[in-house]
Symmetry: C2
Subunit: 260 residues, 2 copies
Amino acid sequence: MAETETARQSNAAAFDSLEVALDRGSPIPLYYQLAQQLESAIEHGALAPGNLLGNEVDIAARLGLSRPTVRQAIQSLVDKGLLVRRRGIGTQVVHSQVRRSLELSSLYDDLAAAGQNPATRVLRNEIESASPEVAAALGIPEGRDVIVLERLRSTYGEPVAHLCNYLPASLLDLDTERLEETGLYRMMRAAGITLHSAHQTVGARCATADEGILLDEPEGAALLTMCRTAYDDTGRAVEYGTHVYRAARYTFDFQLLVRP
Amino acid sequence: MAETETARQSNAAAFDSLEVALDRGSPIPLYYQLAQQLESAIEHGALAPGNLLGNEVDIAARLGLSRPTVRQAIQSLVDKGLLVRRRGIGTQVVHSQVRRSLELSSLYDDLAAAGQNPATRVLRNEIESASPEVAAALGIPEGRDVIVLERLRSTYGEPVAHLCNYLPASLLDLDTERLEETGLYRMMRAAGITLHSAHQTVGARCATADEGILLDEPEGAALLTMCRTAYDDTGRAVEYGTHVYRAARYTFDFQLLVRP
DNA sequence: CAGTGGTCTAGACCACCGT
DNA sequence: CGGTGGTCTAGACCACTGC
């Protein structure tokens, strides 16, 4: 009995002793401030896996917030997979392993994944008429001008991937120099293009002779391929790309959350 | 001016003429009923891409709901990528292409993707001591009993993938016959295990001689590999698997949503 | 300026869980 | 049974957009 008491106390204390500082003058929404502080508490271990959070009504009262606001904060962490709610039980911090790279595989993966020492060489940056394949992927008329971008990405001086991308020429100007320093998506974002969604297909095949030379692999080596179309806020296709990765130096790594 | 009027009308009419039937007696939440009917209206084309939804206050009034309830319904569709909200503008249906297989790549992919005519042959279904690799992946002590499952999945009589899975032996019993008829995840779900998240790594490599025989590919052919650990509600690892796919017959296909 | 979504409040009742 | 999250209401003010 005493043990149960202690256990429960340690659970409750975990959150009770947590100091949450809300700034009502800040333009940052209250629910977001709370969510951020909870998240960092979980990351720093102040809230340990399995800990109960205490009921929402109490939290709201303690912080001087309404219950819906507290719920909104908690819900955002549930959506991220950090918390689990159970009816009649309470809200718990999810156990250990799950929360490493919890972000869903993002469009910036290429950059982040190679983020140790990435370098890009632009092999080609021209305007061309859209081929049938490209026109279909981008949903534009055949023959329309598109930017054709061909890049070789390396880390530590060793080639990792060959990237070939197509963008409607009307969208933006691509400066080759800046492209070698930053990623394509960063430049698109800077140009006011807000990405909304993308469709990807990942497969494998053997290297052709040319690819072998470019990527420093023997002909017939296994390569990882990725084909992607990215869409705008409004649903317009804004980018189509076919990427080829050296299997020995690259893998796709991602986290899946099961929708309840 | 008249044209503007017509355009606005056609946008507004799209939703206004939509019949939404809410059943307050149903155990299904009102926001969920509304979300479902909006979603099917979008799928059936009753709500066309780019259509404005009309403001939330009006919708709430027309349906006899409160605004937060309507917001909850709309928000769930925004999260799915079907709708886009813009401050000061309104809520729009996302343009065309984006909404085909909008569900995020799920754990049931193997089954669904091969869902045309899938067959499974169980090559092995035994209990074994966990190897260091398996123990580390599942977060259990080395030597603990685990179920080792080896399966060959085919479609139309042709092999597609070789699946090797490990599960803590304490979790459930796996009947070989049922495994040949249904998927592993379905059986786990039926046993009361609720999946929460998973971590996957996708790569490529060349086939070994043994794999070539099993999968009916020449030695050295490109294969797609996938390595996955799946976690419980509580964060316990409940499954670890290494899968090998014939590159010519399988690709990973998924949709990404960019978090705002 | 008027209209939109974004945020927030202070209540309420219900369904589910453990005891 | 009491406690929990799940849902719902009827307001309110603000920030941003377009005119």
